[in-house]
Symmetry: C2
Subunit: 123 residues, 2 copies
């Protein structure tokens, strides 16, 4: 069984050490194992979970909703439909975000063209 030190997890997930501890405190991670000396010892599973959290965070899911997801996960296989729903809704949120970004980008590009035409009146 392979374990990861906090520092390794920082490197692999991009979360800061403080953020890892914070996530543990608020319940986004459950019961990280410890060495005899009291240091955290992350498993492969912990790591995968963290990578999923990273995905969700980076795609804009609020922590409150991630907590909901954690809760469901603790509820066993019966909650899979709910988890699925949660992820599907988030997936749609991402679509919306992308659409909004693109629409705003259109406007901004119009503005950019406007400025360019002011710089080079001909052509």
């Amino acid at each position: 069984m392979t374990f990861y030190s906090p520092g390794q997890v920082v490197d692999k997930t991009g979360f800061s050490l403080d953020t890892l501890r914070y996530y543990e405190r608020i319940g986004l991670l459950q019961e990280i194992g410890r060495t005899a000396g009291g240091r955290r010892r992350f498993t492969e599973t912990d790591l995968l979970w963290l990578l999923l959290l990273r995905c969700l965070r980076d795609s804009g899911m609020p922590i409150a909703q991630m907590l909901r997801f954690v809760e469901l996960t603790r509820g066993g296989d019966d909650t899979i439909p709910d988890r699925l729903t949660l992820l599907e809704e988030h997936d749609q949120q991402i679509d919306k975000q992308i659409a909004r970004l693109r629409a705003n980008q259109q406007q901004i590009q119009t503005k950019i063209r406007h400025y360019r035409s002011k710089l080079q009146p001909d052509r």
Copy 2:
């Protein structure tokens, strides 16, 4: 000349009244005109500016950078190249955001498929 009341601007821009006042305070809006009685009286120009701000905010530009943009705007036509640069950079930021969202969405969709397969083992 057409003017807009605060309430109309709220409706047209989607910013709350408090946000409008806040933006004025921190300098994102310059000197909004007033009626005899002291109420704000937005011009068409103010409105267009606000709509641009909305675009920038909604596409993730931090307020500090919008302030930089305002400053440049106050600097007259000489700052057009700088403004152009700022917008072009932001435009690229948006591209990056979209790319990141897509990448994260891929992962999430993989997870979704995984859950689906758990629900319907066959087919």
